[in-house]
């Protein structure tokens, strides 16, 4: 306990030293702007900013990326409230009550609710991370190759089942991602898989160029294809959060915080599902259900708290299992690897203080976000009005720089273009992107652990199913897969006794 407290104090001292606060301010601002602009997502923001952090020390780099992540998820609510367009997919649930409030002349109050809900949500999730991540990390030390294989499989299955509404397409996207990760030299024999004699392909497809393509280029194409965004609330009342809005809905805040953090900790689900689930749970529990969708303060509070609590939640499995809880967390994990950090069970041994540094970074980002929530209203309104015809080419230029910068290969720019085109087509065909990203990120983990497990057992597959933790994870994976079969899920639901 004392060790944990010492580490926590050390984490804050470390994060608040030097010019870190300056970095926190600019990075959170960038995050909020990226999140607020429709067409730019948190994932894209973290991916593009990863490029900028190459020259930084890993602690400053992580602070910058955590701030961008936290800021972007919050920033999405601005356009959700003012434009009725979610800045990021995570803010879609906020449009339901945020925009009606703005139409009633309460845009400022809605933004105040969003600020307080988001602030409390991130704080709640961060508290859970600080309390449970270290002990869960120690528990995860018991995981061997067999268990890690199932952790990766569970991530793909659960993300495929829940992230897009069509589990079949989710699974296909997940396996496509896993396949992409196999391209290039494998580790055992340095054999170049699917390279066809091409030296660039033998080097593999870089994670960052693929992610920048899938989230950056595909977003630019989607944005330019769609209809232009119009209409913005011009009059804004006070944005200072009201204490009564918080105290009256404390149960909603706690429930949404817990739900958001839990969903964040599930591999690959992410902020949008956290927001929708929190919103739905608040609606079920509310005495004023009829107000939901017509400007309910409770509804907006639930969505904002849920999505923001999801951010620290999504970082928990990154730190403890090397499995990301959301798409932006996947990019954050990739950035950790690029910076030489080794997320996963060994982190509790090699750098236990890093978990507390991340806690401190999240708290700092949350505080800075609060400050911007109070002062950054009118400038953001102006930024929201930048026409996409002028914004998107600049985003495309940044994507190109982001894809090239890590290894300085022109080939990576072609990878970005290809990934962007494929990502765009898959989106148009309603394939969810979260399992694809998770597949790309988890591919190496799954590949190594499956082969290592087989070698250790001399080709015997039974340890994958008989070791206690393996068996539990395998059961969870199967349950998640079976639950996604429509007929079977309905059958199970029908068997439940009806209340009363």
């Amino acid at each position: 306990m004392l060790d944990a407290l010492n580490n926590l104090v050390g984490g804050f001292a470390h994060v608040l030293s030097g010019g870190a606060v300056f970095h926190a301010f600019w990075a959170t601002l960038v995050g909020i702007i990226v999140g607020a602009l429709p067409g730019l997502t948190a994932t894209m923001g973290v991916a593009l900013l990863t490029t900028l952090t190459f020259g930084m020390g890993h602690d400053v780099a992580m602070l910058v990326l955590v701030c961008v992540y936290v800021g972007a998820i919050y920033g999405g609510s601005r356009s959700a409230i003012l434009l009725n367009i979610p800045g990021t997919p995570a803010s879609a649930a906020s449009t339901l009550d945020g925009f009606p409030l703005a139409r009633q002349g309460l845009a400022g109050r809605a933004m105040g609710i969003s600020t307080s809900g988001s602030w409390l949500g991130t704080l709640f999730g961060t508290m859970i991370l600080a309390l449970f991540a270290p002990s869960f990390g120690e528990f995860a030390l018991q995981f061997g190759s067999y268990e890690m294989f199932w952790v990766a499989m569970f991530g793909i299955v659960i993300a495929g089942s829940l992230s897009g509404g069509d589990p079949l397409k989710g699974y296909i996207a997940g396996f496509l991602g896993l396949f992409v990760a196999t391209i290039g030299q494998e580790t055992n024999h340095a054999y170049a898989r699917f390279a066809f004699g091409n030296a660039d392909l033998a080097g593999g497809l870089g994670l960052l160029p693929v992610l920048v393509g899938v989230f950056g280029v595909a977003e630019v194409l989607s944005s330019m294809r769609g209809q232009a965004v119009k209409a913005v609330a011009s009059k804004i009342d006070s944005v200072i959060p009201r204490i009564a809005d918080v105290t009256k809905h404390w149960k909603t805040i706690l429930r949404s915080g817990a739900l958001g953090t839990f969903i964040g900790a599930m591999p690959g689900l992410g902020e949008d599902i956290a927001a929708w689930t929190s919103y739905a749970a608040a609606k079920r529990a509310s005495k004023e259900r009829e107000k939901f969708g017509k400007g309910s303060i409770e509804g907006l509070m639930a969505a904002e708290t849920g999505e923001s609590a999801c951010v620290p939640g999504a970082i928990i499995p990154v730190l403890t299992l090397a499995v990301p809880g959301s798409a932006p967390a996947a990019v954050l994990m990739a950035a950790m690897m690029i910076h030489g950090l080794n997320p996963g069970p060994m982190l509790a041994i090699t750098a236990p203080e890093f978990i507390y540094q991340i806690v401190a970074m999240l708290v700092v980002a949350d505080m800075v976000k609060m400050v911007y929530g109070l002062v950054l209203v009118r400038p953001l309104l102006w930024i929201l009005l930048i026409p996409r015809e002028r914004l998107m080419p600049i985003v495309f230029v940044l994507c190109t720089v982001g894809a090239f910068a890590i290894t300085s290969r022109l080939f990576d720019i072609w990878v970005m273009l290809g990934a962007g085109l494929v990502g765009f087509i898959l989106r148009e065909l309603r394939f969810p992107m979260a399992p694809l990203v998770l597949g790309i990120v988890l591919g190496d983990l799954l590949d190594k652990n499956l082969l290592r497990g087989l070698v250790l057992s001399g080709g015997d597959v039974t340890p994958f199913f008989t070791r206690p933790i393996s068996m539990g994870l395998c059961g969870l994976t199967l349950l998640a897969a079976l639950w996604s079969i429509p007929g079977l899920a309905n059958l199970l639901r029908r068997r439940k006794p009806s209340p009363g």
Binding site: T95, F194, P393
Partner: protein, 176 residues
């Protein structure tokens, strides 16, 4: 999303792909899955090195290929069940302007694939931003066209120079 009561206000955007589109997608993905399996089988097994052949490079991608083929078979059968075989017409699912999409994609490929690496990066970026903005704003209010072109040129130059200064001088990164 099945447990969620609230409806997304963007249901129109999230309308499911047509059965026809799913059927074509399934066919393409099934072919890909089979091709992956075929390539995986053709990979060397390195039995002499490992003794067991359990570290053969083709095992894992082969497994993925089988899964992609099986799942896309499922997608195809589901599409047929939903009338994908009978329905004739457009295979795409999304809404929007295809012309705008084609122009954006073409300009993007010309910039990233042709200009970058051949022309100084700042100049390529300035040219791309200028062309992109001008083309997409061309049809708006013709009486203000000249002013918009001048603005596009300014934005292009500012982008090219700022990106070069920020990335190369401030963050010490190499640009293409």
């Amino acid at each position: 999303m099945s447990e969620v009561e609230a409806e997304s206000p963007f249901d129109g955007e999230k309308a499911p792909a047509s059965p026809r589109a799913d059927l074509i997608t399934a066919a393409v993905l099934f072919t890909l899955g089979v091709a992956i399996v075929q390539q995986a089988i053709a990979m060397p097994r390195f039995v002499e090195q490992s003794g067991t052949g359990l570290t053969a490079p083709g095992i894992v991608p082969g497994f993925y290929g089988v899964m992609i083929a099986l799942l896309s078979l499922g997608l195809g059968l589901r599409a047929v069940g939903r009338g994908g075989w009978a329905v004739q017409g457009v295979a795409t699912a999304g809404t929007g302007d295809g012309r705008r999409l084609a122009i954006a994609a073409l300009l993007g490929v010309l910039y990233s694939g042709v200009l970058v690496g051949r022309v100084p990066f700042w100049a390529a970026s300035a040219l791309f931003v200028f062309a992109f903005t001008t083309v997409f704003e061309w049809d708006q209010a013709p009486e203000r066209r000249l002013r918009r072109i001048a603005e596009a040129a300014t934005i292009g130059l500012a982008t090219g120079i700022t990106v070069m200064l920020v990335f190369e001088n401030l963050f010490l990164l190499r640009l293409p």
